[in-house]
Symmetry: C2
Subunit: 246 residues, 2 copies
Amino acid sequence: MDRDARPPNPFVRKLEGFAPLSEFERGMLERISADARPVDPRVDLVHEGEKPEGVFLIMEGMACRYKRRASGVRQIMAYMVPGDLCDLDVALLDTMDHSLATLSPCKVARIDPGTIGELKRDHPQITHALRLCTLVDQATLREWLLNLGRRSSDERLAHLFCELLLRLQAVGLAPEGRYALPVTQHDLADTTGLSAVHVNRTLQTLRRSGLIALDGGTLSVLDLAGLKALAEFKSNYLHLDGWRAA
Amino acid sequence: MDRDARPPNPFVRKLEGFAPLSEFERGMLERISADARPVDPRVDLVHEGEKPEGVFLIMEGMACRYKRRASGVRQIMAYMVPGDLCDLDVALLDTMDHSLATLSPCKVARIDPGTIGELKRDHPQITHALRLCTLVDQATLREWLLNLGRRSSDERLAHLFCELLLRLQAVGLAPEGRYALPVTQHDLADTTGLSAVHVNRTLQTLRRSGLIALDGGTLSVLDLAGLKALAEFKSNYLHLDGWRAA
DNA sequence: CGTAGAGTTGACTGCATTCAATTGTGGTGG
DNA sequence: CCACCACAATTGAATGCAGTCAACTCTACG
């Protein structure tokens, strides 16, 4: 028990969900993710138009992908939570077509393309897990498209909260249906395609319905079944039933 | 001139945009895509929940990815045009998290996973091109998210029309700014997250503005600069400036 | 204590949905 | 050849959801 006291590495934990890893591989992943450096909130990691150098791995906090229109309005296109790796194959492209930024204070590791190349060459299990990660990222984008296109405002938020709950649970960061959600209502608005004012009102109806509590950056899911039902949430797109189930 | 009379293979043409191919590789791709079979419009190729078998390659017509909610409402998440290959890595997953269907009459080739595996093993250039394809697919999903979240109805349609123009031009199917758009207004509604009625009205304003003509399944871009300006269209996410430019 | 940023509330406006009816068109069978 | 049907496109009217603008509160922080 004592040896397990240190917080489990979310990166290792996530990949283990997708493929069985050897002790050696776990150690290698631990080493790769060891030198995460702190980054302030609201800081761009890479900006649209720049040439990407290396790959970012979020170890603590929350980050996001986003784009802006000329008017300044922003659309967030993905949340990145601890354990998430961005842009595995991004080295293949010459310029970023979107930006990457922290939402909260984060710990971020930068992995250089060479290291990724080595992993791909020498560790098929890890490669397989990483490829599944990108497939899930893609599936998540599709689900978000459904969210923006065909769900009402309360359904959109409910769906987002369900998704984050499952993703954070998968890396052990949402015990008892509660997790840190260190984002502003404005961020939620830019995520769900709504206005900040309307997010505020919608959150109130979710609270009044007894589905969630959201206070001081902590989201508590009070009625998971109700929340899932409202959002019509199906977790299949996250493909969390990895090799263990098979 | 006579030998070039046969229509160029859109699949080969697309991949050549992403990587230089040898004559042998071109021939191999031609062979793979040769036995496309006709499929009626509005037919599911794979349905959500099924186990995917093989990979689909669109050679003629238009197909789409979509999801449905319990109420029956549909959200289209991608258009597939000639030359587009779906779900390169889909064999890695056990169940589809979305459906695939034709919109118009199509010619579709099915490629079995074994063939894909061979390509990946023996032809690094092709593999590279295919990987870029999936990166562009992902980037397109992100752009669509911006479209649904932060663009008005006329901007959404304008953006869609711009994107399709460029994608079809890339495979030689949009000469003189005109291309076949064999979809209903209801399909466009399910693409843009609008109602069919409102798509109708929005199309009328686009026509009245002199930006497009849309009649009998043919879209003509009358004022490309204006259309791009309205949609705030930037083509960078399609990464059409492939190896030739570099 | 003053300021800045986030959250909250109210009033007004407007864009988009819904419902319903109508028109147009191609295909089918009498 | 024409009646009829199915489906897509179009139009009108009424409703409502969500955006905008603006003011106010609350809290953390210097």
